[in-house]
């Protein structure tokens, strides 16, 4: 059977087509989801894509969190539905309290689009199993509010529970403890500021490369779903 992976489009989503393309590239079935539909169309996993939902004028992800589709995603996530929030999607997950902490304005205040070197810290999630711990990868970031922040207690807890899934090797924005992505305790919900869906093709991925280090995010989930 093939896995159905949904990608939500909010008004203002930008990288939804890219997430759908990445899903298709690894051989899963991409399913477009609309923010107004509470129905998840029987998908096996959900990706909240990058972009500027509702313009992100208030706070990134603040308004998207209240859309009908998010009620279903939140309920599903609590039941174990794999959810990956990329960039704006990560912000939505934090605003929804599916993940702790918040993403605030970058240290330098500017929007940054850059290929970042990351170290994978945890493979114990639905979305990172195909990496190895300590693996160094290159994935682009592009955001203005990507600086992860949380209180010390939360940060300690994330570390202790192995829920930091990736760290920046050259922290671009002042993220606490170089955190680029985290998971919930169950490992089904992952939030990541860098964009793995923009590192899936030799033609369009980071240059000079490696260009396709983002693929394992998508192969990881596919393998888990197919195995299930």
């Amino acid at each position: 059977m093939s896995a159905r992976i949904g990608v939500v489009t909010f008004p203002g989503s930008q990288d939804d087509q890219d997430a759908l393309r990445a899903v298709a590239l690894v051989g899963a079935e991409p399913v477009a989801l609309w923010h107004r539909d509470a129905d998840l169309r029987q998908v096996d996993a959900v990706i909240l894509p990058g972009g500027f939902s509702y313009g992100d004028y208030l706070r990134a992800g603040a308004i998207a969190r209240f859309s009908p589709v998010m009620e279903a995603v939140i309920a599903g996530a609590r039941e174990g539905l794999p959810v990956l929030g990329i960039c704006n999607g990560f912000q939505v997950l934090c605003e929804s309290h599916l993940l702790p902490g918040a993403l605030i304005r970058n240290g330098g205040l500017l929007f940054i689009n850059r290929d970042e070197r990351l170290r994978v810290e945890s493979t114990a999630t639905a979305w990172t199993a195909d990496y190895s711990v300590g693996q160094e990868i290159v994935i682009p970031i592009k955001n203005g509010e990507g600086r992860f922040t949380a209180d010390e207690h939360t940060l300690d807890e994330l570390e202790a529970e192995g829920r930091v899934i990736a760290r920046y090797l050259d922290n671009p924005n002042g993220s606490a403890r170089d955190i680029a992505g985290i998971a919930n305790a169950a490992g089904n919900v992952v939030g990541l500021m860098p964009h793995p869906e923009h590192a899936v093709e030799e033609l369009t991925g980071p240059y000079p490369g490696p260009a396709t280090d983002g693929l394992p995010f998508f192969t990881s989930i596919l393998k888990q779903l197919v195995a299930a």
């Binding site: 208030l58 603040a62 209240f66 702790p100 918040a102 605030i104 205040l109 600086r147 922040t149 002042g174």
Partner: protein, 103 residues
């Protein structure tokens, strides 16, 4: 018609890069002796109905639910004293209520 102001500021323990950028810029512009700058958001909300406690409670709910992310921000809700004109009376004069929550 009730006019309510909601001030949203980062909690003191949260780093404020925007405020810091302002503070760093000030000496270069010739402003010295600035000890601290914090930058937050101000919302002016007009609600139907009278300017009573119920209006304030509604605004507070909006702030709690939407305007502030209480993981990192705190907010304050109060009636807007300043009237609708560009030359303003002191904002303080007609304020009748204010409160701040640490979220």
């Amino acid at each position: 018609m009730a006019r309510v102001v909601v001030d949203v500021m980062l909690k003191p323990e949260i780093l404020d890069p925007q405020g810091q950028a302002v503070q760093r810029a000030l000496p270069r512009l010739g402003f010295d002796g600035i000890v601290d700058v914090r930058q937050g958001k101000r919302f002016e909300i007009e609600l139907d109905g009278p300017a009573n406690d119920a209006a304030l409670a509604r605004a507070r709910e909006i702030a709690e639910k939407l305007l502030a992310n209480t993981v990192i921000e705190q907010y304050e809700v109060r009636f807007d004293g300043a009237v609708d004109s560009a030359t303003a009376a002191p904002a303080a004069a007609t304020s009748t209520s204010a409160e701040r929550t640490a979220g």
